[in-house]
Symmetry: C2
Subunit: 572 residues, 2 copies
């Protein structure tokens, strides 16, 4: 601090002075000429008259604060935090508020801490919200839980800014004691929300509980009602859910301060090729949002929401997270400084860092798939002429419950790919029980082969879908032998495997390679007949027992509205 002040008052030379630039003042929404003097990872001063040990002439270019993603699940990009950092920072994103909800369901508290520690090795400010509702329900077996004591401890961890999206909105509105205790723990910090479609008195109750944001709005009306209830909004545009253009007409100069951007979930190819928050800024500009307003929604607004007085603005004492632009329109970052260091130029990613890191990884991080291949048995005894089937609604997370004719062979109920009836299995993979839930799905569209994944929200058991048991076994075995991953197989042949050995959720390979395999997996699934936009993503939500109507867990089929297990054969 003493050195920072000495540089600020001009008594000592700065580490770096950026000269000949136009500073984007996102508060005043003005551009003005001025130098920026840096000291370590901070901005020491702005304006004329600073000397530096190093000085860089920016040729009159624009400089804005580094972008902030208000809500993201890093795990969705299938790479480790340090690797996510490479791709995000090359896009001008210097801070993300990550909710490590997926790894928390696999490894609990130590999984959350792993994300923080691994992230420290990358060129990105990763702040965390503590995952709430881990596990989602008792109707699936997760690898770990976060209990009251875990939350209490995680709350105090460095880099933790609050409680992550509180998803059990019905439980909050009805005043469930355990949830209220969870909320009480985080009183005084930020408590982010997640309440798709909530309105009326229940929305009032959810807001009254102290939940201060939402990122699940689908319509302007829903968004307005939430703002009136005192909730800030993160406008989302991710790989799985795209709401930005629907919601932008909401924006006025009055309410803009409460609107930020988030990606929520980005697959590796979107992150790498389309971008992160920079993509949302460009979309907003293209939709007619005044350019500095669009930048402010990606900088100052999320900084203020999360009380990050150390970023979101180019001002003395704040972090030297800076994006150098050619022009405002089009938002194309030329150079990125993160914490005072030049980390990317002309879109080039910083260097890949392999290896395990200089810290102790949590026990089980790379051995999270506890499954004996010999236990796998996907046979279903035929107990009746009709089966209860999960009906996929294309590119949505909700499903329908269907009752369809079973196909029976030798006393077994089997897949009937010619009428888009595939077999689905969820195999408990955390505790070695080998427990298997079995069912059928319509809507995936595979005419042959099978897909397997250890990414299966929220419990992340092994989920396998296929046209025949042999293909399912091949895909499942490939994933198990890789200690987690995504695979597609036909018969005994594995056509593609993306190993995800880190908690069964993330690769430790470069994102370029991961994105390539991920694209290949999708293409293969589509070649086998799936017309879904992202077949593996859809698969990963077929086990999520909190989104209606019918889902499959290792315990079997779950009727989500009644929150209870139901038999596969309706007559049972």
């Amino acid at each position: 601090m003493e050195e920072l002040l000495a540089v600020a008052r001009g008594a000592r030379p700065a580490d770096l002075v950026l000269r000949n630039l136009r500073l984007i003042d996102v508060l005043a929404q003005e551009v003005y000429p001025g130098d920026i003097a840096l000291c370590g990872d901070r901005i020491a001063g702005i304006g004329p008259g600073y000397r530096g040990r190093e000085e860089v002439d920016l040729g009159g270019r624009l400089v804005c604060p580094g972008l902030i993603d208000a809500h993201v699940h890093i795990e969705s990009s299938l790479v480790r935090p340090r690797e996510y950092a490479r791709a995000a920072v090359a896009r001008g994103v210097t801070t993300v508020v990550a909710n490590p909800h997926e790894i928390a369901n696999v490894l609990g508290r130590e999984g959350v801490r792993y994300m923080a520690r691994d992230g420290e090795r990358g060129p990105l400010g990763i702040l965390l919200t503590v995952p709430s509702s881990v596990p989602a329900t008792p109707l699936a077996t997760s690898g770990a839980a976060l209990d009251h004591l875990d939350l209490e401890q995680l709350r105090e961890d460095p880099g933790v800014v609050g409680l992550g999206e509180v998803m059990d909105f019905a439980g909050v509105a009805s005043g469930r004691r355990q949830l209220l205790e969870e909320l009480a723990l985080f009183r005084g910090q930020i408590i982010d929300g997640h309440c798709p479609g909530l309105g009326g008195h229940d929305l009032n109750a959810y807001a009254a509980a102290g939940i201060v944001s939402d990122h699940e709005c689908a319509t302007i009306g829903e968004a307005r009602a939430k703002l009136r209830c005192g909730m800030k909004l993160f406008l989302r545009e991710g790989s799985a859910a795209r709401n930005l253009l629907d919601l932008l007409p909401l924006l006025t100069s009055a309410n803009e301060r409460w609107l930020s951007f988030c990606t929520d979930d980005l697959n590796p190819q979107d992150l790498l090729h389309q971008g992160s928050i920079d993509h949302l800024v460009r979309m907003a500009m293209a939709a007619g949002v005044e350019p500095i307003t669009a930048i402010r929604m990606a900088t100052l607004n999320p900084a203020e929401h999360f009380r990050l007085g150390d970023r979101g603005l180019i001002a003395p004492g704040r972090r030297a997270d800076l994006v150098v632009l050619e022009t405002l329109q089009g938002f194309s970052p030329r150079h990125i400084y993160q914490s005072g260091k030049l980390v990317s130029s002309m879109g080039k990613l910083p260097g890949y860092q392999g290896g395990a890191g200089d810290f102790t990884e949590p026990k089980g991080l790379r051995r999270s798939v506890n499954l004996d291949i010999g236990q796998l048995d996907f046979a279903i005894d035929a107990r009746g002429p009709k089966v209860r089937v999960i009906g996929i609604v294309p590119d949505q997370l909700v499903t329908e419950e269907l009752i369809l004719e079973a196909r029976t062979e030798n006393g077994l109920a089997v897949a009937a790919p010619e009428r888009d009836l595939l077999k689905l299995a969820v195999v408990e993979r955390h505790r070695g029980s080998g427990r298997i839930g079995l069912g059928f799905v319509r809507g995936m569209g595979l005419r042959q082969g099978a897909m397997a994944s250890t990414v299966a929200h929220d419990h992340h058991n092994l989920i396998v879908i296929g046209a025949d048991d042999q293909s399912m076994l091949s895909a499942a075995r490939a994933v198990i032998e890789a200690n987690g991953g995504l695979a597609i197989a036909v018969g005994e042949q594995v056509l593609e495997l993306l190993p995800l050995p880190v908690a069964g959720l993330m690769s430790d390979r470069p994102i370029e390679e991961v994105a390539g395999k991920s694209t290949n997996l999708r293409t293969l699934a589509q070649q086998f007949g799936s017309s879904l936009a992202d077949p593996f993503m859809t698969l990963s939500f077929l086990g999520l027992e909190v989104i209606p109507a019918l889902k499959l867990t290792d315990y079997g089929l779950v009727d989500v509205k009644r929150m209870q297990l139901v038999p596969l054969f309706p007559e049972d």
Copy 2:
């Protein structure tokens, strides 16, 4: 919380439902019809469909959130917090952020806590910032100091929101270690600033130290520079300093979120007859500020600055601090609800609460004037033909240093009221030392008599100014016998006395009575020849040894720029 949620979701009747009203949404800057359901001190829900044990029809009137004063010294109103509360809340002010800087210089930590506890008895949300720089310098004797340990303890007190205006801006900019440690204590909380006229590199250093606000701007240019450095601004309009109209042209829809209102210091008559933040809202509206924007600068903006997620907006879960208005223009509150209770209607003040309260007052609170009247001796041995004189600059806090002919009688230097040369004494009143600093003043204008006060920033010793020693003695004696106060006397006759027995700073009588006496004191001083707007206020700053150029403390004359004692007779 359980009950609040039950009311919010409509499962239980509200304590009170306000019906048939137009809700002022300060975020959206809209007015919309809707009911407000209250539960205890909170808003449970907004919108239709709520039932209440009590229901009030507001006849289509407007309702806005209670106003917030971002920075005030309650002591300046010469009444106790609970009494200040009566007057403020009748104006629609439901929250103040008070810096108990004056009492801290008399009674230290326990004085600060007294303000909080006394305030709890009044109908006003009083939040505190912890006074910094107590005492101001070692060149005066204060009653108490706040050391590192005090600050550390006060920081954790309920209702404390941060560190109060850090006034030693030169010390901050130059990186004085003790100050940096003080700032470090409050990292993560709000650290308010005070840096009149600061600019350039020193302003950068002050902001880099983590100071996030200022309320001392006098010009638009100064204000813009501070905003660019990341500091929020409180636009001030008080009894002593009036900056609002000069600064309003600064306002744009872009920067408005960082602008709030504050009064800083209000004398009792202004508070009672002109108002508090409601007055600033009216001034802003009259100056052309869009009405809901003006209200937002007095509600949501200060709430967000101080991270008060529980107020500033009419929304579920927030405090039921509500102002019922007839029309937007003119901002004339009709009914005020504070914490769910109707506390004022049609401008009527809530009931006066005399007595000491149900808590233990700090030792010395009502015995803070430790002075033996026999010790008082205002005689000055004449040591030369010329004296160093404090030159008052009308209605400003800065003074000039003058060298003038002394008037000598019997070997003593005496006042010469016919050429506006009055005697000034500062008598140490905390520790019983009876130490007296003596000097002369030009600019007060009294042709006869004397004024005495135990309000003398920041040390609050007894300060006396007069045309003759007998009048000074009479005024001083009256104040000492009252255990503090303000008095004016001629010869042996005391013409008016306003007792301030609470720390020598505050009355325990109703504000109506205090305002009457305060007005009378001013009128008398003006009748005796003073042409100053507020002679007692000017007197109270003649001892403040941190504002240039020449001031008097119990140690003698202080040359503020050199920060050292200087002799009364220049030849010494």
